[in-house]
């Protein structure tokens, strides 16, 4: 029997790798993919809890997270296409119209 802590550690590791990728990469597409990595880390945790606590509500929550991830990917990539049309760049440090 694999302990629950191992699954939590794995989910945490995937989440952290997603955070690091989000903060480090220049390319906007990879940044969006890092968000997907973070959501997957959370999903691993939720499914593990759902199995070990014998409660299906964790899997329902995963269901909603996958829905939101799909919506987020569609909206994010549509914003990216609008950005390409106006700026022709995909690098986060080239986008500084708002002086950020």
């Amino acid at each position: 029997m694999v302990p629950l802590n191992w699954y939590i550690l794995l989910g945490t590791a995937v989440f952290t790798i997603g955070v690091v990728g989000f903060l480090m990469r220049r390319n906007v597409i990879i940044v969006l993919m890092s968000i997907e990595l973070m959501l997957n880390g959370v999903n691993i945790n939720l499914i593990a809890f759902s199995h070990y606590l014998q409660d299906l509500r964790g899997q329902i929550l995963t269901f909603f997270i996958i829905t939101v991830a799909a919506a987020e990917a569609a909206i994010g990539l549509a914003i990216l296409i609008a950005l390409f049309r106006n700026k022709a760049t995909a690098h986060v440090d080239d986008i500084h119209e708002m002086q950020g």
């Binding site: 597409i29 997957n40 499914i47």
Partner: protein
């Protein structure tokens, strides 16, 4: 023992693939590593007796979302992308923040206390089949969140079309 061995294989491959996803120079390679990553995560779900979620993971993530990413990568100039710097100039800040976050998570893990187990043990799910048990909860207790999720998807469809379409001449 065999279970631990299988888990160790999946844990190591999942972490290695995640690191490969965020460090590859070519975005197409990143997407392909991510495809492999999603398949491994789906098989991890099978270990946890969540076969419906495993199927959804492959169909929605690997089948729909990654194809969307591949389409948008076609807009990029890959040849130029390979030559430029992968990371922003302030990358040590982000790296330090990520490592610190990991340490905080691990420290908070020690004070974790498991809740009392619910009614859906493996035998109950086996008697009722997993998808049916899941659907029973989804369409009774979680009916309102389910409707909200459908509205979220509708907003995503409309928003994606409005944002990505060419502006019409008025």
């Amino acid at each position: 023992m065999l279970q631990q061995l299988f888990f160790a294989y999946f844990a190591v491959t999942i972490i290695v693939f995640s690191i490969l996803v965020i460090t590859r120079r070519n975005p197409v390679h990143s997407v392909l590593w991510m495809l492999l990553l999603f398949f491994h995560i789906a098989s991890l779900y099978l270990f946890l007796n969540a076969e419906f979620i495993a199927a959804i993971q492959i169909i929605v993530y690997a089948g729909a979302i990654l194809v969307l990413y591949l389409f948008v990568i076609l807009f990029l100039n890959i040849k130029e992308e390979i030559k430029t710097n992968r990371f922003i100039n302030a990358w040590p800040t982000g790296f330090t923040f990520g490592i610190a976050l990991f340490v905080v998570f691990i420290l908070s893990l020690r004070s974790f206390i498991a809740a009392p187990p619910g009614i859906y043990s493996i035998d109950v799910i086996k008697a009722e089949t997993h998808t049916k048990a899941l659907a029973k909860i989804l369409y009774t207790d979680f009916l309102f969140p389910f409707e909200v999720a459908s509205v979220v998807l509708l907003v995503a469809i409309v928003g994606a079309i409005v944002l990505a379409k060419r502006r019409l001449k008025s």
